[in-house]
Subunit: 208 residues, 2 copies
Amino acid sequence: MKTYSKNQLQRYPIYLKYLKKLEAEGVKVVSSPMMAKELGYSEEQIRKDLQNVSDRPGRPHKGRDVHVLIETLESFLGYRTSTKAVMIGAGHLGAALMNYPNFEEMGLSIVAAFDTDPAKIGAEVRGKAIYSMSDFETLWPHLDAEIAIICVPAEESQKVVDLAIKAGAKGIWNFAPNHINVPKSVSLVTTNLASSLAVLSHSLNVKK
Amino acid sequence: MKTYSKNQLQRYPIYLKYLKKLEAEGVKVVSSPMMAKELGYSEEQIRKDLQNVSDRPGRPHKGRDVHVLIETLESFLGYRTSTKAVMIGAGHLGAALMNYPNFEEMGLSIVAAFDTDPAKIGAEVRGKAIYSMSDFETLWPHLDAEIAIICVPAEESQKVVDLAIKAGAKGIWNFAPNHINVPKSVSLVTTNLASSLAVLSHSLNVKK
C-alpha cells in the first residue's frame, strides 16, 4: 500500500483547486513545471505527488490531461463519496463551518449539530437541526455519521470528544484550541487557530 | 538568533493552553514528563521546546514554575502586545473569526472588515465596521494594521491579497482554499480546511 505524508496529503486539495481553475479557463493539458511555477512547490515534488495517486505516469514534455487529473484527485480525496459528520458546538465558528459551501463539493456532509445553549437548541443552521447535547448518545446511532467536528471551548473539548468516541465516532476534527487525547483507533485532525497565528506572528517579527 | 521550526511554533500555544489549565487548577510546578504524558509529545521534544524560549534551564527533578512559564510563553508568542488585523470578506467564516473571543487574549485585534456585498457594507460585527472593498486603499493607512485575514472565495483571493500587500500589509492569513502568491518580504500563513479534511479522510480510510 502506498503511504502519504501529512504534508503531501495537504497539497492535493491545493493542486485540485488549481486544476479546476485551469479547466474553467479552458486549459486541457498541464505539466509539472507549469504547476511548480504557479504553486511554489518544486517540479520534483509535484511529479512525485501526482505519480503517487495516478496509475499512469506523466508523459515527459507532454504533460497530463487536466480533466483526468481532476477526476483522479477527486476520487483519491473522497470528494465523490459522501462522508457524514456532526457538529458539536453551534456557536459562531461551528455555525460558520455548517454554512461553508465548499464542504459539500469535498464530499463532507454535516448532518446535524449539538449544543448546550437552550437559545440554540431547536434552531436550524442551513436546514440542519441543532439538538441538545444531552440527546447526543440517543441520536448518534440514527445519524449514520463517522466524524465529529469539535467547536466547543477548550474546557469542554475533551469531555465531548470522549462522548463522541464512546458513541462511535471514528474521526475527530478538533477546532478547540487545546490538546485532546483520542485512542489510536480514532483519526484526529486539529485545526488550531492559535498555532497558525503563532507561526504568522513569529514570521512577522523575524522580518521586522 | 534562535531559529524555530513551523511545527515547534505550532506547539507553543498548545503548551500554553495546558499550563493555563494547570494554573487554574492550582498547580504550581510542572515537569517535562508530566507535560509529555498529557500532551502526547516526547519528553525530549518538550524539554527542547521550552529550553528554546526560556533563559533559565529547567531544574532536573524539580520542574518549572507554571506561572513563570506562562509569562515566558505569552511574551514569546506576542500575547502581551497588540497586533492589528483587518478582515477581508465578512461572510460566515470571516464574521465567525471576528467573533472568536480567543484572538484578543492572543494579542490579535481585528479592527475592521471589508466586503463587496452591499447588504453587509455599513453593518458591524462585534462593534467593528464592515467597509466597502472599494474603500480599502483609502482606509488602510488609517487602520494601523499589519495583517490582512483573507476570507473570500478562491476566485477572489489572489486579487485581494495583491491589493492588501500594495496597501502595506506585512502579514497575510489566508483562509481561502487555493494557493496564493506573496513576495518574500510578506509573511504568509494558510489555514486550509480542505487540506485538513484530506488528512482526516485519508486516515479514516486507512483505518477501515
